[in-house]
C-alpha cells in the first residue's frame, strides 16, 4: 500500500490522460452506469419504467407452434433414446478378437451417435423456425475509423508514454536494449542445431560394397542367377542383413530384372549384369518413391508416385515424367557360392536430387 502512496503523484498524470481519452466515449452516448445496475433489479427504488419489447414473445401461428412443439419434443426424445443406445452399445458390444465385433460395435456406436446429434439438430431447427417468432432487426454500423478526438488522445497518450519511459530520449539505452535482444533472438535458432546430424556425404553412399549379397526383400534369402530364370520377372532386393534397417533400405533398395539374351542394350553396363540380370536402384531419382511397377512387354519401369518412366533395357534412361536422371545401376556379380553380390557401391548417389549432389 505504501508503494502506491509513494507513487501517487506519478500516476496522477497518466490518470488525467486517461480521463481525456475517455471523454469522447461518453459523448458518443454511453448510457450512465446507473442504468446497467437496474437491468438486474438491484438498484432499488428508482427503477425506470420497463423498455418496450424488442422481440415478440410469441409466434403468430400459435396452432402451428403447438404442432411444432410436439414434433420437436418427439425428436428430442428420439435423440435421448439414441444417446442411451450409444451408451448401451458401448457397454454391450465388445471389440477386439474379431473384426466382426469391431464392425458391429462401430455400426451401433456410429449410428446411435449420428441419430442422437441429427435428431437434436433437426429439432432445434424446427424450434427456431416454427416456435420462435420471425424477426428482423437492424443495427447501426459505424465507421471503423475512430473519431478524431480519440485518435488524438491516443497519439498523445502514446507519446507521453514514450517520453516518460525515456526510450526515445536516451538512445544509448535504446541501442543497448536492441543489442541485447539480438543474441537472445538468435539463441533459439542455435538450439535447433541438434535436431539432426549434418548431412556430410551420407546421401552419396549406400551400404552396398564388394561381396555383399543381394537378398530377396520378402524372404531375406540370397539369390543364385539360376533361381531367377523367368525373363520379364522383377524382384525387389535388399542388402543381406539389413532387412530391419529402414534408413539403409531407403537408399539401398534395388530391383533386379531378368531379360532374354540380347535384350539389354547401351547404355546399360553389361559388365555389371549377370546372366542377363540387371540391378537398378529402386529409389526414384525424382523424389525418392520406390519404382515398383514393371511392365514386361514394354520393359518400362514406372514410379507410381509421379509416373516417371524408365527404359529397363537401356540403363533405365528416363522416358517420361519429372525424373531427370536414370536409375543408377548397381555393379553386380556372383560370389564363390554362386550367389548374386554387389561388386561395389553405386557409382553415383541414388535417389532424389540434392544441392550438393553436383
Amino acid at each position: 500500500m505504501s508503494g502506491t502512496g509513494e507513487h501517487g503523484p506519478d500516476v496522477s498524470l497518466p490518470e488525467g490522460a486517461e480521463e481525456r481519452s475517455r471523454a469522447p466515449h461518453r459523448v458518443i452516448g454511453t448510457p450512465p452506469p446507473a442504468e446497467e445496475r437496474t437491468l438486474l433489479g438491484t438498484a432499488g427504488a428508482d427503477t425506470p419504467p420497463p423498455a418496450p419489447r424488442e422481440l415478440p414473445a410469441d409466434p403468430e401461428d400459435m396452432a402451428g407452434a403447438k404442432r411444432a412443439e410436439r414434433i420437436v419434443a418427439a425428436l428430442f426424445i428420439l435423440s435421448m433414446l439414441a444417446g442411451i443406445g450409444f451408451i448401451a452399445a458401448y457397454i454391450g458390444l465388445p471389440v477386439g478378437h474379431s473384426l466382426v465385433r469391431v464392425l458391429r460395435s462401430n455400426l451401433a456406436l456410429g449410428t446411435s451417435m449420428g441419430v442422437a446429434f441429427l435428431a437434436l439438430a433437426v429439432g432445434a431447427v424446427i424450434w427456431v423456425r416454427r416456435l420462435m417468432p420471425d424477426v428482423e432487426r437492424t443495427e447501426d454500423r459505424h465507421p471503423m475509423r475512430s473519431p478524431e478526438p480519440d485518435r488524438e488522445a491516443f497519439v498523445e497518450t502514446f507519446r507521453e508514454g514514450a517520453d516518460t519511459s525515456q526510450f526515445v530520449k536516451r538512445p544509448i539505452l535504446r541501442r543497448t536494449l536492441i543489442a541485447a535482444s539480438i543474441p537472445l533472438g538468435l539463441a533459439p535458432i542455435v538450439l535447433f542445431r541438434d535436431l539432426g546430424p549434418l548431412p556430410g556425404t551420407t546421401l552419396r553412399h549406400t551400404v552396398w560394397r564388394k561381396g555383399l549379397r543381394l537378398t530377396i526383400a520378402a524372404t531375406n534369402t540370397p539369390i543364385r542367377p539360376a533361381d531367377f530364370d523367368s525373363p520379364g520377372g522383377m524382384i525387389t532386393v535388399i542388402p543381406e542383413g539389413y532387412q530391419d534397417n529402414d534408413d539403409e533400405i531407403a537408399k539401398a533398395a534395388v530391383i533386379i530384372i531378368k531379360f532374354e539374351p540380347g535384350q539389354l542394350k547401351h547404355p546399360t553396363n553389361l559388365n555389371w549384369t549377370v546372366d542377363n540380370i540387371v540391378a537398378y536402384s529402386k529409389i526414384c531419382t525424382h523424389v525418392g518413391c520406390p519404382v515398383a511397377l514393371y511392365e514386361q512387354t514394354t520393359h518400362h519401369i514406372l514410379c507410381p508416385c509421379h509416373q516417371s518412366t524408365f527404359e529397363a533395357t537401356q540403363g533405365a534412361t528416363v522416358l517420361f515424367g519429372p525424373a531427370n536422371r536414370p536409375l543408377p545401376q548397381l555393379p553386380m556379380g556372383t560370389d564363390s557360392e554362386g550367389y548374386l553380390v554387389a561388386l561395389s557401391d553405386f557409382k553415383e548417389p541414388v535417389g532424389p536430387s540434392f544441392w550438393e549432389r553436383g
Binding site: G41, R53, F117, A124, E139, A217, G288, F320, F354, W355
Partner: protein, 571 residues
Amino acid sequence: MSSINGAPEGPVAKLLGGTGTFLDDRLHAAKGTRTFLRKVFPDHWSFLLGEIALYSFIILLLTGTFLTFFFKPSMTSMIYHGTYTKLDGVRMSEAYASTLNISFDVRGGLLMRQIHHWAANLFLAAIMIHMIRIFFTGAYRKPRELNWLIGIVMFTLALLEGLFGYSLPDDLLSGTGLRILEGVLLGIPIVGTYGSFFLFGGQFPGHDIVPRLYIIHVLLIPALLLALISAHLFLMFHQKHTQMPGKGRTSYNVVGQPMYPYFMAKTGAFFLFIFGVLALLSTFAQINPIWLYGPYNPAEISAGSQPDFYMGFLEGSLRVMPNWSWNLWGHTFAWDVLIPALVPLGLIFTGAALWPFLERWLTGDQLEHHVNDRPRNAATRTGIGVAVVTFWGILWLEGANDVIADHFNISLYLTTEIARYAVFIGPVVGYWVTKRICLGLQRKDAQSLLHGYETGIVRMTPEGEFIEQERPLPEEDRAVLAARQDYAIPLPAADEGADGVPAPGTRGAVGKLRLRFARVLLEGAPPAGDGHGNGHGNGHGAIGEGEPERAAVTAGDGPDHPADGPGTDSE
C-alpha cells in the same frame, strides 16, 4: 429482485436475480453482455461455410484428444500380434500398431479415428469454399483485409496440420507422402539437405519424424490455429459481419436476427448437424483404412497412391512438371521439384494475400465495404477467381491422373500431356468465359430493373398490336439487382479527372498501367437506364478523394440517390 424489466416471475427471473446478480456484482458485465446478446447477425447460406470450418475444427479437437489417449507416437520397431490377424507377426512401428489397436481394440476407437479423418477433410474443404466465397463477394475489402490475411495463414496451417496428421500412423501410404516431402526438401538449394536432416533427425526415415510431427500436430499448430481462429472471430464480431445486398441493407447498418436467442440456437443446431453427419459418414464410409496399406517400408509402395484431397494439387503439380534440372558449378538445381513444389502454391497464396491491397491501389477505393458484391457485378474479379480455381482444379485432377487414366481407359501419359497445356489454357478460358457470363448477367439485371418481369399476360392494343405486359419487380428484388451501384462507385484515382486533367495517381508509366488495369478490373455492362457516357462502366470520376463518406453508398439505395449514381460526371 422481483420483476426484471417486465420479465415475468419464474426461473428466468431467478436466474437473473441469483446468478446474474452474482456475476454482475463481480464482472460489471450487464451492459456488454446485453450488447452481445442483441448483436445482429445477417443471414445467407454462404455465411455458413466458415461455420462448417469452425465446427469441424472443434470436432477435430474433441476426437483428436480422444485419439491421443491411445496413440503411441513412436517409431520403435515391434512385431504385431493383435486382433488384425492378417498382419500377425509383421514388423511395424509402435505408431502403426497403436493405430491398429485404436481401430480394433478400443471401443469407439475406429469411429473416432474415422470422424477425425472425415472432419479433417471437411475442415479443409470448408476453408477452401469459405475463402472462395469471401473472394467472389469481395468480403475481403476494407476494413476486412486483416481477417483475409489471417484466413490465408490459417489455410496454410490447416494444410500442414492435415499432412502431418495423416502421416502419424506410419502406414505405407503416408510414409510415401513423407518420402516425397523429403525429396522436395532435398531439392531446395543450399539449405535443403540440412533441412531434411534436421527434420528427420538424420537420414530418411529415421526414428524421429513421427514423434516430431506428433507434437507439431497435437500442440503447436492447433494452438496457433486456435489463437488465429479467436482473432478471426473477434475481428468478425468487432467489425460486424458483412451482409448480402437487399432492401434496406446499407454500409451503415446490419440487418438480421439477434444473437440471442436466434443465432445461438441456429448455430448450435448447425454444429450438431455437422457432428451428426460426420458420425454417420464415419460409420458407413470407410476412410484411410491403414490396415489395408500395411506398415511403412521404404522399399514398398502401392499403385494408385493418393494423398488426401487437399494435397492433390501439389501432387498433380509434381506430376505435370517436365524433368528440368541443371547441374552447375557442382550443384544441382532440381527445377523438376522446386518449381512444382513452390511456384503454384506461392503464386496462389501470395497472390491471394496481396490481392485486396492490389485491388485497392488499382481502383483507388478507400471506402469501407460492408455490403457484399454479387459475384456477377465484379466480372473481372470473378473471372480471376475462376481462373485460380481452374488452375488449382486442373493440378488437383492431374494429382489423380493415374486413377483417371485407369477408370476412363486413356493413356496415362496423355493425361499428363493434356494437363501440361491445360494448366495454362484452362485458367485463361475460365477467366474469359466467366467474365462474359457475368457481363451477360449484368445486362439481364439491368434489363429487369428497367423493364420489370414478364407477366405472361398478352394484351392486344386498340391498334391491333400484341404486347406482353411487364410489371416492375418487387422492391426487394430491385434492391438486390441495383446493388451493382455499389461496385460501380466512381473511383477517382483510377480515372482521368473530370476536367480532362489526369488524376495524380494516373500519371507516368506506372500510373497509365494502373489506369489500364483498373479499367479492366471495373469493366461492367452499362447500368440500368443509363445510356450515356458510361461505355466502360467506369467512365466517371467526379467524386474527389476528400469526400469518401458520401460515396460509401450502399447497395439498396443507389437508384434513390442520383448524386451517387454512375454517370454523374457527364453533366
